[in-house]
């Protein structure tokens, strides 16, 4: 009797073909059903928007402008060049945005760290922010990966639990605000993704000699997986295309490594009060693997906690002689640098831990001159205690 054997094709030869219906329900249909019943109001994505494909093949609308920037605690507090770069990109590409004072944190960092909250409170915090965005006349654009992930969780709970909707409605009535939920929950890195060709057209630095590793944020693509952007041209549609597509659009090399799917080690509570864990995971599982397997010039990520953990964990590891020393920044900072943003006045790289100078030299940035320019402005501000750096100063 003859036995027929077949050899499966190599991974690089396989073609990803999506078959059948998505395995998940369409949250937009459910939102619109609730709106039709008068339970809540759905804020539509404003035009102009770009449609992109998400994990299960559905299309997601990403607005280009009229965006209400839902800022991130960790970015604004500890990595100010991150948020600044997002705003700078909007300004340079000519898209109208709003940077609100009537926004609170999503409070999810605290929730995942301590659980000193509950579903009702978390949903009300989300809806209050969304209602405020609607009242301000802009569409929410979420800066933090955890806010993005948590708001998707809140959406799941609101869609499926009438009791929770009743609770949120009572709270919003007390606050004298409407019960609003956006049609799409949009992360800023999705906006960067859809405008990456515009960024590339305005690129002034040559990144062709730069090798970057990408770290995707867990709360972007693992926590409620539905909304994350996928592209069959990248990783054969098997991993999210976010960040990597930008790196490639800017002509840098996106180098792969074996622990791409791993978390950064942030841990929420751990990064603040149990950092031995965060440091160990970030350096042993992420940075050292990248170093060994890809030896990149920089690591690019798209979330608050990931930039913080991957960057700040390297100092202590270096003291122990570990194989570390990779600069870490966000996709927004990387894109802004490519377009000629000032490394200190805009990207605020002096707030980062790992030495960025070798990277800047490879990018063709005169960091000594740039630091002198920053110091000149800082000195002026020091002499005048009420003055601030303006956007004009930042581009001077």
């Amino acid at each position: 009797m003859s036995v027929t054997t077949t050899t499966p094709p190599k991974a690089s030869m396989r073609e990803f073909i999506r078959k059948g219906k998505p395995p998940t329900e369409d949250y937009r249909e459910l939102l619109f059903e609730l709106e039709a019943k008068g339970e809540l109001e759905v804020q539509r994505v404003p035009e102009p928007y770009v449609e992109v494909e998400t994990k299960y093949g559905r299309k997601k609308k990403i607005p280009l402008e009229q965006t209400w920037h839902h800022k991130s605690c960790g970015q604004c507090g500890h990595i100010p060049g991150y948020s600044t770069a997002i705003f700078w990109l909007n300004r340079k590409l000519g898209y109208e945005y709003h940077d609100p004072r009537d926004q609170t944190s999503c409070t999810a960092w605290n929730y995942y760290a301590s659980s000193t909250s509950n579903s009702g409170a978390q949903a009300a915090v989300a809806v209050r922010n969304f209602a405020q965005a609607k009242l301000d006349g802009f569409f929410p654009m979420i800066h933090c990966g955890t806010s993005y992930g948590h708001y998707k969780e809140v959406r799941e709970e609101i869609l499926h639990h009438s009791k929770l909707r009743d609770q949120v409605r009572k709270i919003m009535d007390r606050l004298k605000m409407p019960f609003v939920f956006p049609e799409e929950i949009v992360h800023y890195s999705e906006w960067v993704h859809v405008v990456r060709q515009e960024i590339a057209e305005k690129q002034v630095l040559d990144f062709s000699g730069i090798t970057a590793t990408v770290h995707p944020a867990c709360h972007y693509h693992k926590l409620v997986v539905e909304d994350a952007i996928y592209d069959r041209e990248l990783y054969d549609g098997q991993r999210t295309a976010i960040v990597t597509a930008l790196v490639e659009a800017l002509d840098a090399k996106a180098a792969d490594y074996s622990t791409w799917h791993d978390c950064c080690g942030f841990g929420f509570r751990h990064i603040l009060v149990s950092r031995d864990f965060s440091r160990s995971f970030a350096t042993v599982r992420k940075i050292e693997r990248m170093k060994e397997e890809a030896d990149p010039d920089v690591t690019i990520t798209h979330d608050t906690g990931c930039v913080t953990t991957l960057d700040k964990s390297q100092f202590a590891a270096q003291a122990h002689g570990r194989n570390v020393g990779i600069p870490v920044m966000s996709d927004a900072q990387f894109a802004a640098l490519a377009m000629g943003a000032h490394p200190y006045k805009v990207c605020q790289l002096h707030w980062h831990g790992v030495d960025m100078k070798p990277l800047m030299e490879k990018m063709g940035i005169d960091h000594e001159k740039a630091w002198q320019e920053f110091e000149e402005v800082a000195s002026r501000l020091k002499d005048n205690g009420t003055e601030f750096m303006t956007w004009e100063d930042a581009d001077a």
């Binding site: 000193t116 978390c263 006045k345």
Partner: protein
């Protein structure tokens, strides 16, 4: 009585353990986070905490599925706080979400003021105060060498130049040192009203009475200044 000879917390009445277990299962999210476990271990392979702690998301799924009340109580006290809440475990082929099971368990631990929860959150409670009173979780002035000695010399540089370096950031909302960004007073009050209306302050009281008292005093003074009646904010979740 536990089936394990070396089981911990044998002095805690079974009825108490069962009550807490039931609270987890009665949470509205329970039905969408636990479907049954193959014991395949994919969640453990993906889990960062499993690499550095005696911690396993698979054990949480198994114990909850088996309704092993004694081991549940051990997990609730001994390893629930090791989880990173990254949700890498959602790679589960049965669509279990061990990270979310743990979120619910932590809420139950906090609601009952378990001493293990108090201990786990001891150093963290000032962060709770920051987020609940200001609406931002971390602030630039937290970057102190004493608090982050392992983050290297740049923390000292930031701390020494904080006022000038914050004013040297272009967005106007970020010229702050005590908050991550400038949250309006009206918005901070709205956030506090949400905490009042959802019983969150009682949760804080269970974990850290000192922080609760400061928070209540500071925020309620602010509410009164703005003409709100504090007694008018009953817990709407209890209706």
């Amino acid at each position: 009585m536990s089936i394990y000879k070396d089981a911990k917390y044998q002095d805690v009445p079974y009825e108490k353990k069962q009550k807490l277990f039931q609270e987890v299962k009665e949470d509205m999210r329970w039905e969408s986070v636990m479907y049954g476990c193959y014991e395949c271990g994919i969640c453990v392979a993906a889990c960062p905490s499993a690499r550095f702690y005696d911690f396993s998301p698979r054990v949480f799924a198994q114990v909850m599925g088996r309704e092993d009340i004694d081991t549940f109580y051990e997990l609730l006290n001994d390893s629930v706080w090791d989880c990173s809440q990254c949700f890498s475990c959602t790679r589960c082929p049965r669509q279990n979400n061990p990270g979310a099971i743990i979120t619910i368990m932590r809420e139950v631990a906090v609601n009952h003021g378990l001493s293990s929860a108090k201990k786990a959150l001891q150093a963290y409670s000032r962060i709770i105060y920051k987020i609940m009173s200001t609406g931002t979780q971390v602030a630039p002035d937290m970057l102190q060498p004493d608090f982050f000695p392992d983050w290297g010399p740049d923390v000292k540089d930031v701390s020494e130049n904080l006022d000038v370096w914050r004013r040297a950031v272009p967005p106007e909302t970020m010229h702050t040192t005590e908050l991550a960004w400038d949250v309006s007073e009206k918005t901070r009050l709205e956030l506090y009203m949400i905490w009042k209306l959802t019983g969150n302050l009682e949760m804080i009281e269970n974990i850290d009475e000192g922080i609760f008292m400061i928070l209540e005093e500071v925020m309620e003074e602010l509410l009164e200044e703005h003409g709100y009646d504090i007694d008018d904010f009953e817990n709407v979740l209890e209706d």
